[in-house]
């Protein structure tokens, strides 16, 4: 009974938590993640409630994590591969519109207003109720009413000029209270009879102890407040001048309905209008464009991402500036993986053959010593190679081996494509041959000695028996491992990125591609490179491509090693 109770309670709890997160997700617009969590919810309920779902209970924690961290990202990668999510297009259309509507532009001949804050105190502590005293460039004083919310996240406040020390705004009476000792000081403002005390002014150092309160309590309101006066216009706190002073400014874009020609008909549409030029904002190519009324030239203001279909994939094939570096990276990736396997396998096999003798003393010591390059974490050894060995001016290869010992000119390791590749192969062979050596040793040991004896009796030389006996018999167990190594090197981000970073760069390429870049490092630079903007959409498209290739290779490999049969057991 207790067990059942615990079960139902936990089901209820999990449902509650997941339900809450689903609603959160849908509110935030992450529909995909929300759907996945819904599926999870259904699955969890089935697993916990239904006795037939017993096996699934074991899988629950792992499955949750798998779903969130592996399945969802796969889905997400597919999704953004079909969108144009990139630098300059990082918002949804609605977000872009909101950003534009929030933009404040300072007017051409700006007028500056200084201000002081007057706060209502309660129990000797300041409250969030305040008004402002403004001083214009002509020295005249104005009162600005307490900012009221007008639309979500925005506030308005009206300000009017003081006449004889008082003014009435929207039916509220304001008057200034001056100090008796020094009439030039306004110590309070009386609002409908209640005194708001002098609290803070950016030019008065004595009020700085109140700065913290001002920033935390008033700052967010004031930075979104529009101060309105019918004659002067609108004042804002801008990013240029911060909270130092108010500036005449206005919202750069507003919404308005205008007649627009669409499909040959005139329709009334709600469009964004640039308040300075008066021109409507054009929208095409997944972005908003300003039009200069005199020249007709269009400049892009902000872009938004949305479904663009196969644009990313087709640009890989059609856009010459993207395609040709991509193609060279693609070809090089295959070359790199294949040659890496060849080199590491050759070295590993030779060493395995030399070591493969039971009578050899110190055999285990040799093997242990030779495994060390594999045991050292890759990123450490690669950095050492990059900085200490292959550095063009300071590296010991150029400086000491070539310079001091042999008096040869230095080699431009990372500037010349050929030598960069040589360096890459050297390092990768150093890193990879122990693995090959170990598996070759294992495979060699499975070949019975009688075969060699028989062959030598038949008059075969060592070289001949290697090619006819050893090599074919090695290939059977090793082929899947070699293919797996090919797949590993195909995606060997660490070596490429940490040693050469893809350099030397391919000239005339708008995407950051290098001559030693492999697909995955190219993708990484596209997504996180930062230098020429981040093109997440294109990066995701290439990720999918890599996945397709790897999946094919792995499928071939699994077929070879018979893993699929194990599934059916």
């Amino acid at each position: 009974m207790i067990k059942k109770a615990i079960l139902w309670i936990s089901v209820a709890l999990i449902d509650a938590i997941l339900g809450w997160s689903i609603t959160l997700l849908f509110i935030n617009g992450s529909y995909a993640l929300g759907i996945i969590v819904i599926l999870l919810l259904v699955f969890i309920d089935y697993a916990l409630i239904n006795p037939k779902g017993y096996p699934f209970r074991y899988m629950l924690p792992a499955l949750i994590i798998l779903m969130i961290l592996t399945v969802y990202p796969i889905y997400f990668t597919f999704q953004i591969a079909f969108e144009n999510y990139a630098t300059g297009y990082m918002w949804t259309r609605d977000q872009a519109i909101n950003i534009l509507l929030d933009k404040v532009v300072i007017s051409p001949n700006p007028k500056f207003f200084n201000y002081s804050v007057y706060t209502l105190y309660k129990d000797y502590k300041p409250t969030n109720d305040f008004v402002l005293l403004l001083k214009g460039p002509d020295g005249k004083l104005y009162i600005a009413s307490s900012p009221q919310p007008s639309s979500p996240g925005r506030y308005t406040s009206s300000f009017e000029m003081l006449t004889n020390g008082s003014v009435s705004i929207d039916g509220v009476n304001y008057s200034v209270v001056r100090s008796l000792k020094d009439p030039s000081q306004i110590i309070a403002i009386s609002v409908n009879g209640e005194n708001y005390n002098y609290f803070y002014s950016p030019s008065d150092q004595s009020t700085f102890p109140n700065l913290k309160f001002f920033n935390s309590n008033y700052g967010s309101i004031l930075s979104n407040t529009e101060f309105i006066n019918p004659e002067i216009g609108t004042l804002f706190f801008t990013t240029t001048y911060g909270f130092n002073k108010l500036v005449t400014a206005k919202y750069e874009y507003t919404l308005s309905t205008m007649p627009v020609v669409e499909n040959g008909h005139q329709v009334q549409k709600t469009v964004l209008v640039n308040t300075i030029t008066g021109q409507p904002v054009l929208e095409h190519n997944s972005a908003f464009w300003d039009v200069d009324p005199s020249t007709g030239k269009q400049t892009m203001i902000i872009g938004y991402y949305g479904y663009t279909g196969l644009a990313n994939f087709s640009s890989l094939l059609t856009n010459k500036q993207i395609m040709s570096p991509f193609l060279s990276v693609f070809i090089w990736t295959f070359e790199w993986a294949a040659l890496s396997v060849v080199f590491t396998f050759a070295v590993g096999l030779i060493l395995a053959i030399v070591l493969n003798n039971r009578n050899m003393r110190f055999r285990t010591i040799y093997r242990t010593l030779l495994i060390i390059p594999w045991a050292i974490p890759g990123f450490i050894s690669i950095i050492m190679f990059r900085v200490g060995f292959f550095n063009v001016s300071f590296g010991i290869i150029n400086r000491i081996f070539l310079g001091e010992w042999l008096h040869l000119p230095p080699i431009n390791w990372f500037g010349d494509a050929f030598w960069a590749k040589v360096a890459l192969f050297l390092v990768n062979t150093w890193l990879g041959f122990p693995y090959m050596m170990v598996i070759s040793l294992g495979a060699l040991q499975s070949i019975p000695d009688d075969l060699y004896e028989a062959a030598s009796i038949d008059g075969s030389s060592k070289w001949h028996s290697f090619w006819t006996i050893t090599f074919p018999l090695l290939m059977t167990p090793l082929a899947p491992l070699l293919i797996a190594s090919f797949a590993y090197n195909f995606n060997n981000f660490n070596v490429i990125y940490l040693l050469t970073g893809g350099n030397p760069p391919i000239p005339n390429s708008i995407t950051p591609a290098g001559q030693t870049d492999i697909l995955i490092s190219y993708t990484y630079n596209l997504a996180f490179g930062g230098a020429s903007g981040r093109n997440y959409g294109l990066a995701a498209a290439i990720s999918i491509l890599i996945f397709a290739i790897i999946a094919t290779i792995s499928a071939i490999n699994f077929k070879l090693s018979g893993s699929f049969e194990e599934v059916n057991k």
């Binding site: 899988m59 792992a62 050292i376 294992g442 999946a551 599934v567």
Partner: protein, 932 residues
């Protein structure tokens, strides 16, 4: 028993040395003291464990303590959140550390000072005398060399013509103009006796003038005193006369330097001004004295002028000799060179223009070939039409009728013009052929106008007549468009021909000129050589004699120094001469190394004593500031914590002191001392003090370690981050994977097969691919669960877990499959639930494999760079992989010692883990490869 051939061992050992060399290099570089990124040595014998101490214990040295204190006083983070008691605690800790450092510094500075003074008192006098002996011994070889060279030069010199001798003495004469000296005058006196004569004359006149004027200053001051004048002007007048007298006495008088500043401005003006204040008799006396001095000096001046004249005469004589030897040759060389340059320019222009013509031609030719695509169909069409006409005419009986079928004369002339040009060039032959065919066809039509006209009623000919205009139109447009191109080609071809015909001629002329230049240049060179011999002879006359004299006098350190200086100057003169290569080889200069090294030792010891002094003073001042701060710290901190900005000026003073004293002077000096003592300690003749020198070296190094600016990154923090993240992720991953693998292995349920395939598929899409998605995902999650967001350890752990589950589940399932089911069935018969069989049987049995998987997972996560670099953006949150990168870029990329130390510290745990798991790894791999 087959003995293994030793060659196997040798090969393996060689490979091991090559393969493990980088590891060895990493270790040795991490313990080096010098800056290995610029040192020419691959290894160094100056070792220290300082890098390890710095990185592991992170004990801040003085500059880092200073940063901390400055941070405290300006209430930077994390101090802005602490209360005053806590801040005072930290501050006191810092002050205590400061005290310790001061004590160490005093101790170490005393050590180097005492060592240095011991050396100075007990060793240096001995070393000095040994060095002097060394110089004396070695000087013989040099003296011998000098005498050989001198006699060689003298012999060659004497065989020279007078003009050469004159030309050779020119340099010496010029040097006399700027700085006259006795020896040189004697030397040139052999050829120009007027010079030493006039010089002696000049010297005599000066000493005579000096004795004549010896009483003047005394007289003048008497006169002035009598007149009662004792002001500044009077003093100035007397001193002006004194200066004049002194310069005449010691022979440094020069008229140019005397006349305006001393005579005009002082003697003259002062006399005039003073004369107005004293009596007329005294004024007259002063006047007289002034005139007398002036005329005496004039005598000296005229003596000098005659010397100067004789010198100038000699110079012009020498100059004219030189000119005589060289002038004609040099002028003809100049004119030949100009000629050569002109011809070279012409050749270049011709070559360039012919290249441009060629390229224009090829451009035109390609245009024509485009046109040819046009022509062929036209020709074929025309051909067909004409054959149609011919076939009709062949059958027809009608002969002629007056009339014109179609006038193609203009086309004929066009085609003829075309062929006229194109036939000149064989590359247009194919087209020419076509156009020729057209021409033939057109001619046929033109010649048979009336016959064809007669047969107009034939359908074929009517058809031809209708379509002929179109063909002809096309032909005409093609021809008219291409004729200009053809003509252009023609022009360019002709110009090209002209240019290329000229080129061989110009080349030949160039050769002729250069062949003339050669001999002349040689003649000039040989004359210059002979002049150089003469001038070297003269130059070395003086120094050789001086060196001989000095060599006899080497009995003190200073004299030895002077001797060696002169010797160096002599050798330098030889090396600068043009005929250096004709001289016998110089003896090596390293024979005097003992002397120079002793000099170096003396300098270094003095520098050490001075630096020790400076260091003490510097430390005194610094600790004075610190003790002030200590006394005032309570108040300072309180005021700051209360929120009132308060600037502590002592901080600035400390920084200025540090920059001005340590960074500019003491620090570099300590470095110099270290370097020099290191070099000197190895020398055999300093063996006795090598211990002390090494001690000075080490101590200086440790002093700099206390005081120099260091950047110590939070390596331990990074290591801890890596270990926490990788370890936690590995443990959790293995548990979750084991849980997940269990039903797939043991139970049969719907969706098992597709589940397994799904896991396989997911495995193929490594999380790295989805780095974009994961980045945004973490960003999103971080808003609600801050401990799992970006830049948190939890977030990264979360990602690692996700990345490992698929792969590990598959592996563990494979292992579970090898455990026989009978065990569980037996247990279940005994009443255990499924879960209990999992918990009590399967897990314990697979514990070793799970442990190995965990450790392998740990090693794998530890080595991940790409995810960690994306997720972790704050310096303190870096994992070790990302943190190590910061060593290799930017300003710290040349501090190899620190970088290799960090690498080694991070590498050792993994290395140890891996090697101790070797059996499992190797065994597992080989097991997997051997089936059955």
């Amino acid at each position: 028993m087959f003995k293994v051939h030793p060659i196997r061992h040798i090969i393996i050992i060689a490979v091991i040395i090559v393969v493990l060399f980088p590891v060895l290099w990493i270790f040795t570089t991490s313990i080096r003291r010098d800056n290995s990124s610029i040192s020419p040595n691959l290894f160094s014998n100056q070792t220290t464990w300082q890098n390890y101490i710095d990185l592991i214990f992170e004990k801040p040295n003085v500059p880092l303590l200073y940063n901390d204190i400055a941070n405290i006083y300006s209430l930077g983070s994390p101090y802005n959140k602490m209360n005053d008691k806590e801040i005072l605690n930290v501050l006191n800790g810092d002050f205590n550390a400061y005290e310790n450092y001061f004590k160490s510094t005093y101790r170490m500075s005393d050590s180097i000072t005492s060592n240095a003074s011991w050396i100075s008192v007990n060793f240096i006098p001995k070393a000095k005398s040994l060095a002097i002996e060394n110089v004396k011994e070695n000087s013989n070889a040099d003296l011998r060399y000098i005498s050989i060279v001198s006699s060689d030069l003298a012999a060659k010199f004497n065989s020279l013509d007078q003009n050469y001798k004159m030309a050779g003495i020119l340099d010496l004469l010029n040097s006399l103009k700027s700085s006259p000296d006795q020896d040189t005058i004697r030397i040139v006196g052999q050829y120009f006796p007027e010079i030493p004569q006039s010089w002696d004359n000049y010297k005599n006149s000066m000493s005579k003038a000096a004795s004549a004027l010896s009483n003047v200053p005394g007289n003048v001051s008497e006169i002035l005193l009598e007149s009662g004048v004792d002001n500044q002007m009077a003093k100035d007048l007397v001193s002006a006369y004194e200066e004049t007298l002194n310069s005449l006495k010691n022979g440094t008088f020069t008229y140019g330097n005397w006349f305006a500043p001393i005579y005009l401005r002082r003697i003259n003006m002062d006399t005039i001004n003073l004369s107005s204040t004293i009596g007329s008799t005294s004024a007259a006396k002063l006047q007289n004295i002034k005139s007398m001095v002036f005329s005496t000096v004039q005598n000296v001046n005229s003596a000098f002028s005659s010397y100067d004249r004789s010198l100038s005469d000699a110079i012009s004589k020498a100059q004219s000799s030189k000119t005589l030897l060289l002038s004609t040759l040099q002028s003809s060389l100049t004119s030949l060179s100009n000629n050569y340059n002109q011809l070279q320019n012409k050749l270049n222009t011709l070559t360039a223009s012919s290249v441009s013509y060629l390229s224009a031609m090829s451009y035109d030719a390609s245009q024509i070939s485009i046109f040819s695509n046009n022509i062929v169909p036209t020709a074929m069409a025309l051909d067909n039409m004409v054959s149609l006409v011919k076939s009709v005419l062949h059958q027809s009986k009608l002969s002629t009728q007056s009339g014109i079928f179609y006038d193609v004369s203009s086309y004929i002339s066009q085609a003829k013009d075309w062929i006229a040009i194109s036939s000149k060039y064989s590359i247009f032959d194919p087209i020419t052929e076509q156009v020729q065919k057209i021409l033939d066809d057109l001619n046929y039509i033109q010649n048979n106008q009336s016959v064809i006209y007669a047969n107009l009623n034939s359908n074929a000919i009517l058809n031809v007549k209708t379509s002929l205009p179109f063909v002809l139109l096309k032909l005409q447009s093609g021809l008219s468009m291409s004729i200009p191109v053809l003509q252009n080609y023609d022009t360019n071809a002709q110009k090209y021909k002209e240019a290329s015909e000229q080129i061989p001629d110009v080349r030949k002329q160039l050769e002729e000129v250069s062949s003339e230049i050669g001999p002349i240049q040689e003649k000039i060179n040989s004359i210059n050589d002979k002049i150089s011999i003469a001038s070297l002879y003269f130059e070395t006359l003086k120094s050789a004699k001086k060196i001989d004299e000095e060599a006899k006098n080497i009995n003190s350190f200073k004299n030895a120094d002077v001797f060696l200086n002169e010797l160096n100057k002599y050798y330098a003169t030889l090396q600068n001469s043009n005929i250096y290569s004709q001289l016998p080889p110089m003896p090596s200069s390293s024979r005097y190394d003992q002397f120079f090294n002793t000099q170096k030792l003396i300098d270094t010891v003095n520098l050490t004593l001075q630096t020790g002094n400076n260091l003490n003073k510097f430390t005194d001042e610094y600790s004075y500031y610190i003790s002030n701060l200590k006394n005032r710290s309570k108040d300072y901190v309180n005021i700051n914590v209360l929120g009132f900005p308060f600037s502590v000026n002592e901080i600035n003073s400390i920084n200025n002191l540090y920059q001005n004293q340590y960074v500019s002077i003491i620090g570099p000096n300590l470095g110099i001392i270290s370097r020099r003592t290191n070099e000197l300690a190895d020398l055999p003749y300093f063996k006795e003090i090598s211990g002390k020198l090494n001690s000075i070296n080490d101590t200086s190094y440790y002093i700099t370690q206390i005081w120099m600016q260091k950047y110590i990154p939070p390596l331990m923090r990074w290591l801890l981050n890596s270990i926490i993240v990788s370890g936690t992720a590995a443990v959790i991953t293995v548990f979750l994977s084991a849980l997940m693998a269990y039903p797939f292995s043991r139970l049969r349920f719907r969706g098992r097969k597709y589940g397994l395939i799904g896991i396989l598929l997911i495995q193929m899409f490594p999380t790295m691919m989805a780095m974009v998605a994961l980045y945004l995902l973490l960003n999103f999650i971080g808003k609600f669960l801050p401990f799992l967001g970006l830049n948190t350890l939890g977030g990264l752990t979360f990602l690692y877990i996700g990345g490992g589950i698929a792969f590990n589940s598959w592996l563990i399932k494979g292992f579970f499959d090898t455990i026989p089911m009978e065990l569980e069935e037996a247990a279940m018969v005994d009443g255990a639930t499924r879960y209990q069989t999992f918990w009590r049987i399967i897990l314990p049995l697979s514990a070793p494999v799970l442990a190995v998987t965990m450790i392998l997972g740990f090693i794998g996560n530890y080595g991940d760079y790409i995810l960690a670099s994306i997720v972790m953006t704050g310096l303190n949150n870096y994992t070790f992989a990302v943190g190590l990168q910061t060593f290799s870029t930017g300003a710290y990329s040349s501090n190899w010692g620190l970088m290799t130390t960090a690498a080694l510290i991070g590498m050792i745990p993994i290395l140890v883990l891996f090697l101790s798991l070797q059996k499992f790894i190797v065994g597992g791999l080989t097991q997997g490869s051997v089936k059955g």
